[in-house]
């Protein structure tokens, strides 16, 4: 083969290889793993969207929810959503977001279907995914009722939950405005040395767990 023929041959080979690479980008062409059945996909698919899509069949009332909530949720969240110990409060707080920032389902959460989603995927804390769809609907109805968002005769289902307008529905900004500071890299005389004052000193706060020895669980400590 002449040297130019060799070059052409190598170009043709690379062309074929490029073709192979392009083919490799086709879905499934790596050929590893199983194709799930539609039943399997349905079992895995627990995520609910804000518009309520993928909410399952079933329903639950406020009064059913009160009973289930009493057994499954009240120990941590309080009978009326007022919270126990440091566990999250679920009710109240409307109008506090600028100052005390009491974030509850009623004061803060933007979408009712996400309440269902979260209870279904993560609650109860000690036994997640132990509730039936009807139970999750009922608890959702009770928590919304505690917050005066739905009436006492509310029946939660895929349609009614999607129709609930949460008080803080428009309270979120989902476009990151950062960076919020635009400093230049000052190297000298960046601040007035005479005006510098120490405004707080952690060594005087007395709330730091020990940083030597075994892990300090602060049992018996007066710190909060």
């Amino acid at each position: 083969m002449s040297s130019s023929a060799k070059i052409w041959a190598s170009i043709i080979v690379s062309g074929l290889m490029l073709g192979t690479t392009a083919h490799a980008a086709e879905p499934g062409s790596y050929g590893v793993g199983a194709t799930p059945t539609s039943d399997q996909i349905a079992q895995w698919s627990i995520a609910i969207k804000p518009d309520g899509s993928n909410l399952p069949p079933g329903s639950g009332t406020v009064s059913q929810g009160a009973d289930i909530y009493g057994n499954e949720c009240a120990a941590c969240h309080g009978t009326f959503g007022e919270g126990a110990a440091a566990y999250p409060k679920l009710a109240g707080g409307v109008g506090t977001l600028k100052t005390q920032k009491l974030k509850t389902v009623g004061s803060f959460w933007p979408y009712a279907p996400i309440l269902y989603d979260y209870i279904n995927r993560a609650m109860p804390f000690y036994a997640p995914r132990s509730l039936t769809s009807n139970q999750v609907y009922a608890i959702s109805a009770y928590i919304l009722n505690l917050n005066n968002i739905v009436p006492d005769d509310f029946v939660a289902n895929a349609k009614t939950l999607a129709a609930v307008k949460m008080p803080n529905r428009d309270g979120f900004i989902f476009k990151d405005p950062r960076p919020l500071t635009h400093d230049v890299e000052c190297m000298s005389h960046c601040a007035d040395a005479k005006a510098l004052v120490i405004t707080s000193d952690a060594s005087k706060a007395g709330i730091t767990p020990k940083t030597t020895g075994p892990v300090d669980n602060m049992q018996g400590s007066s710190a909060k």
Partner: protein, 418 residues
């Protein structure tokens, strides 16, 4: 012949053991003698054998270097965080045993034989993978930091915790090995309207976060390897998502499902939590990128200056979710004047970077600070600047400059300046 002499040598070693133990006892009685080759017990005794510690552990003299937590921060240890002992981390890699924890439903133990990853939604060919399947795909190893957006949360209202570990330890950095998410997404084939990805964890919290498809196709990794071994259970064994430079909770642990959709899911973790209330009562969501930040790790409250006035090396870490660290400046006078620190190689993308600067301490009180500048030109702000925008009691996004007050006795306190 060679074998025989080796055996002899081993026998000799065993016979000599008794004599060495005696020598070590002699050395131990000389506890007050100055350290040196004549008095060191480790040089006069036989050490432990290869059968002693099949996995390995740090020196018994490093017992203080452990993860710690702040008991009053959370309601339950299973929904809490522990902090990386940054004061004991020499380089940019966080030891796997040091790596901070953040659980929403505790550390679960996943059997890798029963683990599956489901990839579904707006794809041409849904996929169900075993761990062995996942490991057959082409892999990468990349070193990235992982920071909780609540790192420094306690310091928003005032200097509160007198510790580097508790003020900055919700960060760690590791070498991650896994399959690029883009590789898997090509295999399933994205439908044209597939613009968002949902990552779902398999623990009791089933934590979910939405990721825009551009980021998913850029540099995300479905990782099973962490710093030279399998991913630790604390970090989501067997598989977690790595979303380089973005807030830690995006990097879903015990990953079990990826779904492709048209829009974000606005999950609990991106609405009810991990959003920040601004002074006007509106909440900021999708604050994914970790902004540039730095801190001096020596000296610090846990590691004071113990040798009196003279020469020291100031050391610390800097990082940015927007790329690489360009510079770190250090001030010894509370931010009036700054000097450029040296950046230690390698300076990697979305990775912790180490800085050092020599300091001749005159023994007088000093206010030392570090300030990071990233490759976008962004300069780490002071706490006063950050507070002017975010208010006095936010939780997340505190990337402000840390001030350590060095006292004349060499001790170090966490202070804030006004």
């Amino acid at each position: 012949m060679a074998k025989a002499s080796r055996r002899k040598l081993f026998k000799f070693g065993a016979a000599a053991g008794g004599a060495l133990v005696a020598a070590s006892a002699r050395a131990a009685t000389a506890a007050t003698a100055p350290a040196g080759p004549l008095s060191d017990p480790w040089g006069h005794s036989l050490g432990a054998g290869v059968d002693d510690r099949p996995y390995g552990q740090p020196s018994k003299y490093e017992k203080d270097a452990i993860r710690r937590y702040v008991p009053w921060l959370a309601q339950s240890p299973q929904a809490d965080a522990s902090f990386t002992p940054l004061q004991d981390q020499p380089g940019i890699i966080t030891a796997n045993g040091f790596f901070f924890e953040r659980y929403h439903a505790g550390r679960v133990s996943v059997n890798p034989a029963e683990w599956r990853l489901m990839i579904m939604g707006l794809v041409e060919k849904p996929l169900l993978l075993t761990l062995d399947d996942l490991k057959r795909f082409p892999s990468v190893s990349r070193t990235h930091f992982l920071e909780c957006p609540a790192n420094g949360a306690t310091e928003w209202p005032a200097a509160q915790l007198n510790s580097l570990q508790y003020t900055h330890g919700l960060i760690a950095c590791a070498e991650w090995t896994g399959v690029k998410l883009s590789t898997l997404l090509k295999e399933v084939g994205l439908k044209p309207n597939g613009k968002w990805l949902l990552a779902e964890g398999g623990d009791g919290s089933h934590l979910t976060r939405s990721v825009p498809i551009e980021k998913a196709l850029d540099d995300c990794i479905v990782a099973w390897g962490q710093n030279g071994e399998a991913l630790r259970p604390e970090q989501g064994y067997p598989v977690r998502l790595i979303v380089p430079g973005w807030q830690g909770n995006q990097m879903v642990k015990w990953l079990r499902r990826l779904e492709i959709g048209t829009d974000p899911w606005y999950t609990h973790e991106e609405t009810a939590s991990y959003t920040e209330l601004l002074p006007n009562g509106k909440a900021l969501g999708f604050t994914w990128v970790a902004e540039a930040k730095s801190v001096i790790s020596f000296p610090c409250p846990e590691k004071p200056l113990t040798g009196g006035p003279g020469n020291y090396e100031i050391r610390g870490f800097a990082w940015t979710g927007r790329g690489k660290i360009k510079a770190v400046d250090v001030s010894f006078d509370g931010g009036v004047n700054y000097s450029r620190a040296a950046l230690q190689e390698p300076v990697l993308d979305k990775c912790m970077t180490r800085f050092t600067i020599p300091w001749h301490w005159d023994g007088k009180p000093a206010l030392i600070q570090s300030r990071a500048v990233d490759e976008t030109g962004y300069v780490q702000p002071t706490i006063a600047e950050a507070r002017a925008i975010m208010g006095t009691a936010p939780v997340y996004l505190n990337n402000s400059i840390q001030t350590w007050q060095v006292l004349a006795d060499g001790s170090v306190n966490n202070v804030q300046l006004g």
